[in-house]
């Protein structure tokens, strides 16, 4: 027996989280089903006129992606907290920063990545112009990763509470707003023919900042939650 290297340990954590998710497929399909249901509501509420829908499509798709991320982020650490795995993770000799990144990475692969890949289908339902599809996928890929990292902060802080859902939303929604603004602006820009590159670059910058700082906040939040 030898102590695993840090990278090896993180890959192991990632595999573990992904396998846990695959064994509960409902957790993977829930955000997608939520996305599909809410997209189907918009034509009913706004009227089925295609040009109306196209005008709202960029913002609508981004808001739904944000909400479905918010719904799932609460659960990132919950089951590990309840069965005591989180205590063991905090006591492990591995750097918590990277372990936390592995957890968030698994969460993003299961929600953000799938959502981004499925988003062109939903975009067509809302009559989003075809030239904006690529930008939509790119902005969601970058943006949902930021959302997962930010959501992890809220999840870590509220994991010790029995009903943390509402509190997580209050804590995290203000941090989600810049992502929403630049994400939907990128798609809107692509619709009206403005180059989306600068918006995507800002999203990528946000992602870099979030990768650098959010795990520190998540690790501190977990330590506080376990201590309480």
């Amino acid at each position: 027996m030898s102590a695993p290297g840090t990278l090896q340990f993180c890959i192991r954590l990632l595999r573990r989280q992904l396998l846990l998710a695959v064994r509960r497929p409902i957790e993977i399909s829930n955000p997608l089903v939520f996305f599909a249901m809410v997209v189907a509501l918009f034509p009913l509420g706004l009227g089925p006129a295609l040009e109306n829908l196209a005008g709202f499509a960029a913002g609508t798709l981004w808001i739904i992606a944000l909400l479905s991320n918010l719904l799932t982020s609460d659960a990132v650490f919950r089951s590990d907290f309840e069965d005591g795995s989180l205590e063991q993770l905090l006591l492990s000799p591995q750097p918590l920063y990277l372990s936390v990144l592995a957890y968030i990475g698994a969460h993003w692969l299961m929600t953000g990545l799938l959502l981004a890949l499925a988003s062109p289908v939903f975009a067509l339902l809302l009559n989003l112009p075809g030239q904006a599809l690529g930008t939509l996928v790119m902005s969601l890929l970058l943006g949902t990763a930021v959302l997962s990292l930010l959501g992890g902060i809220g999840a870590a802080l509220t994991v010790g509470l029995k009903r943390g859902g509402m509190l997580t939303s209050l804590l995290i929604l203000p941090l989600y707003m810049p992502v929403l603004i630049f994400g939907s602006a990128a798609v809107q820009g692509a619709v009206s023919g403005i180059p989306a590159g600068p918006y995507l670059a800002i999203l990528a910058a946000m992602l870099c900042l979030a990768i650098a700082l959010a795990p520190l906040a998540i690790a501190a939040g977990l330590r506080i939650s376990i201590d309480a």
């Binding site: 027996m1 192991r12 069965d83 205590e87 006591l91």
Partner: protein, 205 residues
């Protein structure tokens, strides 16, 4: 080996004091755990045994006074089994979040066999009983290389044979130069250097 004062202690606590809900659970609690010792923390329900173990292993870092110095890798087993119901016992052990080692399949199989779970290696843990969940967790003791074990009620939900086997393991670990700090209400049947810490009386004897 047993309690040689010249060697440095694996775990030392200096004047620990904990107040919970306006009640003083313990104060000026100082003791040193050396290799070759087994410390049993005793006390009534609510005496602060679990709180003390959590302070010693470093999970509680605020809200108490005093200092804990730990000079050794440690293994902590708490009340909750830290076993994922959706994973099999083999997966639970080989991908354990504590990251304490890479275990080969044979090591894991022999550890599971020794806690009486031979044949259950590859069934999902949600089909196992609560006691078997705890046994999966206890299998980590057979895989661990940490010298210092902090065990919170390790005998809970374990049957009589399991308790006997666990006591044999604890003795072997202590004899091999490890140290154990554990809470339990049972009288231990172990053949090694046992120290008692009675939280009700607040003295180390």
């Amino acid at each position: 080996m047993s309690g040689d004062p010249a060697s440095s202690p694996l775990l030392a606590s200096q004047s620990l004091c904990l107040i919970r809900g306006g009640r003083e659970l313990f104060r000026e609690l100082s003791f040193e755990v050396y290799a070759g010792q087994l410390w049993q923390i005793e006390g009534l329900n609510g005496a602060g045994k679990t709180s003390l173990i959590r302070i010693l292993c470093g999970l509680s870092r605020f809200g108490f006074e005093g200092e804990v110095v730990c000079n050794s890798p440690l293994l902590y087993l708490g009340h909750q089994p830290a076993v994922k119901a959706l994973l099999t016992p083999r997966e639970n052990l080989s991908w354990h979040v504590s990251g304490d080692g890479l275990h080969s399949n044979t090591q894991i199989e022999s550890a599971l066999a020794r806690v009486g779970l031979s044949g259950y290696e590859d069934v999902p843990c949600h089909t196992l009983s609560a006691g078997q969940h705890r046994r999966v967790n206890l299998a980590r003791l057979f895989l661990s290389e940490a010298a210092l074990w902090l065990l919170d009620e390790p005998f809970a939900a374990i049957d009589k044979e399991g308790v006997d086997e666990l006591q044999t393991l604890l003795t072997a670990h202590v004899k091999a130069g490890g140290a154990v700090v554990m809470t339990s209400h049972q009288a231990l049947q172990v053949n090694c250097d046992v120290r008692f810490l009675n939280l009700g009386a607040g003295v180390a004897a």
